[in-house]
Symmetry: D2
Subunit: 431 residues, 4 copies
């Protein structure tokens, strides 16, 4: 059944992935990425929703600075993004939603693919597959180090299948190409637009996470953590470090003291905790006592209660570090993810449907992870309205962890993922 | 005697100062500043030395990144700096030396004026004199917050005097308009070029430092501190903060631990110590364990021995913080200043010569400071060859300390300073 | 079956517990406790092994200072411990082993009860059950805050049963009353003496840990953590803090820097981690730079690999903190526990045997914990030689956590525990 | 003149010093020391005031715990201190005042000698003079490491002179043998008793501080620092570190965070600053999250304003560290010293009077120090009532700094000091 489809599309899948990989864009700045996705989907015949038609503008979290948005919009224009598209996306309204209605009764099936990249400088090491094959990031300090280039390519593959096999399918299909997953900033904006409110089945997933053989997939993933993301701004008083050290109010020391103590938030007996200060910037010049500093922080917990515990401790520590150095402090919540609970009744179905796949060698019922994903908002909305949802894994060997400058995955995983989704479609939506 | 000169030049002095203030440039990027100074001195008839004729290229410390230099060179061109000037200054060879030879036997008298600005965002507060009078910095995050705009204007005033009264003077005059004083990075490059080797008297000075009434000057300044400036680069391993925290080697925590402990270097019984972490940048994204971090540090001591003590402690702490978090570390010395000892025999002379000034109300023999100045290299070179040197203060009320976003000085101090230098010239170099 | 036994012994159980509670003794100083236990067992007719006959002297870890041992031996004599007993226990050879041989073929069944207390000052709050009922600790800063007083009473209850019902039992019984469980210091010494080498079934357990209703017990406890305990000694140089701060090498700052960073050891994706600095002492006088400091540390991990990871990180941090402050450092490993894996085939047996108990209301198959226990050495030895072992929980409501100054348990839990063990004995060892 | 006196008394001086050195006592526990001093002065014929007759009980600061006082009183009794003396001193009312009235008109001259020791464990190194000569401290962790044993011996020497040469002298003499100088705790209590209110000249001094040749003395000492001493008590909640880490409120981390940040209080442009955490104790057991901690802190400043600045910063940091870890905190001020200003008109007098001494080789007018001394209260009281006061130095080579376990001084310095005081007496008070 349809195994020829994968053979046909394989070269295209890899081409899509590499093109996207070479031009990564950070969250809410995926102008070129969105445009490229959109132009492909347009060709396939999908109905597209972009800009404020795709997401609820005011539900976006952690928007980039206006100047960064504008600079990137300018670059997008130079790269050939059409003005009409830019007009709709302007101000960080990236991502899009693609809808296909077979016209036949049947389930409403949703898919979600995340499309953004990370602020990491990709390795130029000759042993690094993208560098060796000349599709490494052309952008300094931006990299697809989490596999979202692959996710996007998978999404296009699934779309191509729906488009080309539409007359064998029933029901409706909604494909969310979501911006700004990193930092948990984009999913809520799509969720709040109402796309999920009548979805019967929602599928999403991730390449990697665990190092598993290509061909192994997981039907569900327990253990995704609830998380809260903060920006903290410390405001002190700068002074000449040699002449008047006593007149300074040191915002750098407030931040460094906060950072060191944040990592010491006590572990919790009831489940997993995480804390990270991912970014810290303080001060302007060597002989000036730093009057300003800035931190990006993230805390996670294995249950909503633990996430709340971590958040309470973190804000206490940050505020006290400010008090200690007599500086003021603003703490801004810029992203949130919820706990994910996959619907276990999908396990036997996915297992059965994929049993006929030549590419899917093994379906593990459940593989635990300890990251966070704002797909949580999407899944929770589906489930709230009575639908079923799962977040799957697509196996690949991982020589380096996610978010590492040498992160990479085996491209055969793309074929496996598309084939798995096709079998799920055929299982659930075939005429 | 010549009091008319000050009256005549006063409006020009203030205009020079405000023009410079509005377009501040960081060390080794004073392209526009140097050009403006040079064009004025050219009109006055000085013989000019710019670029590699003014300074010893390889003796510069803490040069900006090549990309920053090029971006600023481009901006300088847009602002009208002539291509021939840019050609000579390219690559951070800023500052210039202006020479005047009366043709008559007499002392060789040197003056040194520093011209660079600081990475501080100038206050837009309406109570801030430059903001209110519309000459505040037009450059974001660059500000003349140490009075070097004033020093440069004073230098031009002194030059104007020499030029216009040359027939009443004897001997030779060398005026150093030095780049990159902040960070102690530029003086050695001019010193190593040999300008000071036969100077008999060297005068330099600073507006402010202590809050003193306008009209009060100090003939000498004991207490300038020896200093060493470091950049520290920590290199760890980034990892996904949720999924694989144990695989990260956290360069941010190495830096924050170093920062917190650097401030705790024990005080020294034998004199003043200072330490500052003026800048810290770490990490790239919220959910990535930071694999890189960077700090700008400065230590100072009241004696060469204490400065050495501070430097030894600082490098030990930085290295141990790296070891603690299992990251590697590179410590780069990027600037140095020496201890300054003013020649006390200049005190009675300056006091006597300035006694006839209407603007100089009081000459304090000696006002202690605790900053650092790379004029130390210049003065020590003069003294090594048998010359005399001093570093003076020119009083102004200070509502905010140096390096504060609202730093300002009373512009009458410019007139006092020029008048003091004129009286010194008349005392020592008049026919 | 035998429910009358519990009724009979109940008052005695509570009396034993309270007497032990009122006179708690720290690890390897349980002279009076051992003596009291021994005198009871002697009366019951057990064969006793005390001192070096009970444990392998050189396998003890973290022995108290000789002076503390001697002071406590003196106190034990004053409290009436016989000289002959003291002679055998002298030097911290506390605890004892009681053996009962029915003379009939059958399994060799082992029980282990831990007997030591903690360095905590018991609450005098009137709401605190021991304070209200006047059996709170009479020793300052020593307290049974982990329930070992209850464990010891349970052991005596089980012993009483074996003694009084011996003619209905078969096989052999070995009861270990183990010293110094806190800190993981005593079990290895009993294990190395060979007591477990032919044990067929080994039962141990804990009151509390989870807050469960009295009557609920757990047949097994997954999740006990492997742990390593360290003492760290920092040696610097003291100096007058006002006159010569620069001559000091600050051992206090080495310790505080180590402490703050130890808590920041990254979490591990593969399981639970724990770290604690339980004690820190530094310095001798206010105006003296501290030349000495001392820390007691403990790290734990959910797997042997994670425990090793934590240990490697901890020693790195401690050494680097010493280097940072230019002091020397000695790190001494003073206690270890291993991971515990309970034999799951005991679950249905325990469940079945306890089904007839009137006191045991519910047997939960498995209740996870995240403490550490040196029963790990005992269980691992039994299992290595082919025996089966488990560590059970005996439910009680917990108003305060273990190791809290107001820790207490419901005394009915003692009855439940003895009854559970009796039913296990009857199930496995009855004629 | 009187040089024979020194020759005669020299062996006695050294004997006194060594006897005192061997039995050092901490502040407000100098029972034996006071008794020994008193018995000598009684023999000489002085009128003595001890206990509450010597000091104002309620003005004492930082009194030891009642239990420590009682233990030491018991020891004093065992060492032979008469019951009647103990009765007067009981509760930490140590030290004494000795008065001699010549009956002739003349100045009232005061001397102050401090008598307490430090909590330091004296070195047993064979190169350490007291160890080699068998008069090292017999008390563990108590040591005369600041020379107060010498000061006391000097005081007895001066007393002997007054007593034996009384008929050549005029006016009155008041000798304060002050307890608890370390920590700035005792002087105020003697001052508040009124002893200084009509003193015309007050002399005190210190052996060492600077390493100077024996025979060199300083007439005055600028630079003594104002200081404030604090005890900080942190109160959190203990918990089992493995099972319920999230329930603990960690008082140890509050203290270590405070300590690390206290050392980072910014230096002050206007003068010397000092900070020390001399003692830190936290926690009770390795696997218990520490619920209690304690710190002894001291801050100093070169001016009253700087001392106030340091105190304000220190209390802010301590409170914020408590807030950060959600523990409560009590900050107790336990000692204070003021800034000392020696009367410069004494310089020529002391210089002149000592010119005839064979032992005093050189009188330096002024030798700066940077310690703190509660003689400040005594001198400030004298000066407030119109008297003159100075604090002198008596030179000795110093191989190790004050408060070092190998601190020692050259015993010839005792002779020089007594001879200097005799010449001062003869200069100012001879008939």
């Amino acid at each position: 059944m349809d195994s020829s489809f994968i053979e046909e599309i394989a070269p295209q899948l890899i081409k899509w992935r590499r093109t996207l990989h070479a031009l990564p864009e950070l969250g809410f700045m995926e102008y070129i990425t969105t445009y490229r996705i959109g132009k492909e989907l347009e060709k396939m015949g999908f109905q597209l929703y972009i800009g404020k038609d795709a997401l609820e503008e005011n539900s976006r979290l952690g928007l980039p600075a206006q100047a960064d948005l504008e600079a990137h919009e300018k670059k997008a224009r130079e790269w050939g993004v059409e003005e009409s598209w830019l007009d709709q996306m302007r101000g960080g309204n990236t991502g899009l939603v693609a809808v296909w209605n077979t016209g036949r009764n049947g389930d409403h099936v949703g898919f979600r693919f995340d499309i953004d990249a990370l602020p990491i400088n990709e390795s130029a090491d000759s042993g690094h597959h993208p560098a060796k094959n000349e599709f490494a990031s052309k952008e300094e300090n931006v990299m697809h180090a989490c596999g979202h280039d692959g996710h996007t390519a998978i999404g296009l593959g699934v779309a191509q299948y729906i488009s080309s096999r539409s007359d064998h399918l029933q029901g409706r299909f909604t494909l969310l190409f979501q911006p700004a997953e990193e930092g948990g900033r984009g999913a809520r904006a799509m969720t709040d637009k109402g796309w999920l409110d009548d979805v019967d089945y929602l599928y999403s997933g991730h390449i990697g996470i665990q190092s598993l053989p290509v061909g192994t997939i997981a039907a569900t993933t327990p253990g995704f953590l609830a998380s809260t993301k903060y920006n903290a701004y410390f405001k002190g008083v700068s002074s000449h470090a040699g002449i008047n050290p006593e007149l300074g109010k040191n915002a750098l020391l407030a931040a460094t003291t906060a950072a060191n103590n944040l990592y010491g938030i006590p572990r919790h007996h009831d489940g997993v905790t995480r804390v990270n200060v991912g970014k810290l910037a303080a001060g302007s010049g060597r002989n000036i006592i730093p009057g300003d500093s800035y931190m990006e922080i993230e805390v996670r917990g294995g249950t909503p209660e633990i996430a709340e515990y971590m958040a309470e401790k973190a804000t206490r520590i940050i505020q006290a570090a400010a008090d200690m150095h007599d500086v003021s402090c603003t703490i801004e919540a810029v992203g949130v993810t919820e706990v994910v609970v996959c619907d276990e009744e999908l396990i036997p179905k996915i297992t059965e449907w994929c049993a006929t796949s030549e590419l899917v060698k093994e379906v593990q019922p459940s593989v635990p992870v300890s990251g966070s994903e704002d797909v949580s908002f999407i899944m929770n909305r589906v489930q709230k309205h009575g639908g079923k949802a799962t977040f799957m894994l697509f196996g690949t060997k991982l020589d380096y962890p996610h978010h590492h400058p040498q992160f990479d995955f085996e491209e055969e995983a793309l074929l496996v993922a598309v084939d798995a989704y096709i079998h799920i479609l055929n299982g659930g939506s075939a005429i």
